[in-house]
């Protein structure tokens, strides 16, 4: 049965998505989502991936508030209704 996830983007990315801050995807995992972005928003794909085709290390992926790396990273299977957020990493903390 096909699933639907909601993908949420920061404002910095919307210049590559015709102003869309979120879109739906039927991807079942992270590689599938990246492939979906490749297809639908090629300019965004260029921004979030480095020259080697890997996700840039300054981007974090969250699934329903949790860092995807704690859920198994690329092996995590998206569930129907998941909210997936792409957020650039930022600094902070005591020092």
């Amino acid at each position: 049965m096909p699933i639907k996830i909601k993908v949420v983007l920061p404002t910095a990315f919307v210049r590559h998505t015709d102003g869309q801050k979120q879109f739906d995807s039927a991807a079942t995992n992270l590689p599938g989502l990246i492939a979906d972005i490749d297809q639908t928003f090629p300019a965004l794909s260029t921004q979030i991936k480095d020259e080697g085709g890997k996700l840039r290390r300054f981007i974090n992926i969250y699934v329903n508030d949790e860092d995807i790396r704690f859920l198994g990273g690329e092996t995590y299977a998206f569930q129907d209704g998941d909210e997936v957020m792409l957020i650039p990493s930022i600094a902070g903390g005591c020092c």
């Binding site: 920061p10 921004q47 300054f58 508030d65 930022i90 600094a91 902070g92 903390g93 005591c94 020092c95």
Partner: protein, 429 residues
């Protein structure tokens, strides 16, 4: 007094693109953090020993190499904290040339965050923000709240819900709007990036971050000046996001470039709590990336499981021949006690981490006893008293009579010696 500084602007660490001066958290192209770069050649005429020494005894003596707007008139004497020779602590851990840079007494809120916030809020005003904010593990919250109050700015501050009560109170007292988030610092940080995206607020550690981080450089400038315009052999620094340790090195490099100190290799050592040690683990494994962790330590001000500056900090530490270590919560408490008992400095848990790691670095031969080593203490123990509550017994009240006092002393002598032998003993690092 009005200060002028050298020309500066934002530059991407990765792709090198420049962005002038504006509130911007990362490179719009490659998403990497932005850094302030200066016209160092122009600074040769203004950033001199003589000019610095003629300035006030606070961070504004280094204004020529801080990103502050034209015409800025600071009136808070932040920084220029003591650098003390730590002979007693040195004796205990086998160091003969040990110094403590004590930002537990930094003005106005007793942590090194006062430095970064004063630079950040100068820029917040320049950029026209009426509301400023931050995500914080406590010290930053205190500092933003206090300095915003003085500048007449509104402050909205987000913190993990389980923050130390003293740090929460120390934010609320200044009239800041405090929002407790049900999550750890990384959750709070993520939310703040989204808020900064939606609201026109000046978040000191998001869209004002490049300016904010530059305030940390003043720790490095002060260390060099207080050592008589020379650099130490080693610096031991606590790490949360991994920013401070890099900025101290940036300060040293600028001083070398401008001829204010003699060029020499300085090794950098990072300190973390084992319960949140992503940068330390990266250093130990020689990784150029960070494996995020779920924090679980009493050192909450260092509890950042996914530090943005972590990869750069780990790389920098290794490139200088330094190292990183992490210590348990028990060792952290012991570190707090040792610094207090030997040098009269009551530091927060982060300082306990740094002290305990320093002891281990000497014990493991990572630092030679005679090296000039500076340990950076970044916050005050009065903010984290819960970490050491229960460590000391509650004394009974004594009647105001000399006979009762004599009796009390006899009781004390009889009962405390074995106890002290256990509780006060140094840990075997």
């Amino acid at each position: 007094m009005e200060y002028s500084c050298s020309a500066y602007e934002l530059k991407c660490n990765e792709c090198g693109r420049r962005f002038g001066n504006r509130p911007l958290s990362g490179c719009p192209d490659c998403l990497a953090p932005l850094e302030i770069v200066y016209d160092l050649e122009a600074a040769r005429g203004t950033f001199t020993r003589q000019a610095i020494q003629a300035g006030p005894f606070n961070i504004w003596r280094y204004a020529a190499l801080l990103p502050i707007p034209e015409g800025f008139q600071p009136d808070l004497p932040v920084g220029f904290t003591p650098l003390i020779r730590a002979k007693n602590l040195g004796k205990r851990i086998g160091a003969t040339n040990l110094y403590v840079k004590n930002d537990a007494v930094c003005f106005p809120t007793l942590s090194f965050k006062d430095r970064v916030v004063s630079v950040a809020l100068a820029n917040a005003q320049k950029f026209g923000f009426d509301i400023v904010g931050c995500s914080s593990t406590g010290n930053l919250a205190n500092s933003v709240a206090a300095q915003a109050a003085r500048l007449g700015l509104k402050a909205t501050i987000l913190v993990p819900a389980d923050l130390e009560p003293a740090k929460i109170l120390n934010t609320q007292v200044y009239g800041a709007r405090l929002v407790r988030i049900d999550g750890n610092y990384d959750h709070v940080n993520r939310l703040c990036t989204q808020i900064a995206d939606e609201y026109a607020w000046g978040f000191v550690n998001v869209n004002l971050r490049p300016y904010y981080a530059e305030g940390s450089k003043t720790v490095g400038y002060e260390i060099a000046e207080q050592l008589g315009w020379r650099l130490p052999d080693n610096v031991v620094c606590p790490m949360a996001g991994g920013s401070l340790i890099r900025k101290i090195r940036k300060a040293f490099n600028e001083l070398i470039y401008l001829g204010l100190v003699e060029d020499k290799p300085v090794r950098f050592f990072g300190a973390q709590a084992t319960g949140c040690s992503p940068i330390s683990q990266a250093v130990k494994q020689g990784l150029d990336y960070i494996e995020p962790q779920r924090p679980n330590t009493i050192a909450r001000s260092l509890a950042i499981g996914n530090p943005a500056d972590g990869p750069a900090a780990a790389k920098m530490i290794l490139s200088t021949g330094g190292w990183a270590e992490d210590v348990s919560d028990i060792e952290i408490v012991s570190g707090m006690q040792e610094l207090a008992e030997t040098e009269g400095i009551f530091t927060e848990t982060a300082g306990g981490v740094t002290t305990a790691v320093t002891a281990r670095l000497y014990a493991h031969g990572r630092i030679s006893p005679d090296d000039i080593t500076v340990v950076c203490i970044t916050g005050n123990g009065l903010k984290t008293t819960d970490a050491i509550s229960g460590q000391y017994r509650e004394e009974r009240a004594v009647r105001p009579r000399i006979a009762d006092f004599d009796e009390y002393l006899r009781e004390l002598d009889a009962s405390t010696e074995p106890e002290l032998a256990t509780a006060g003993a140094s840990l075997a690092y």
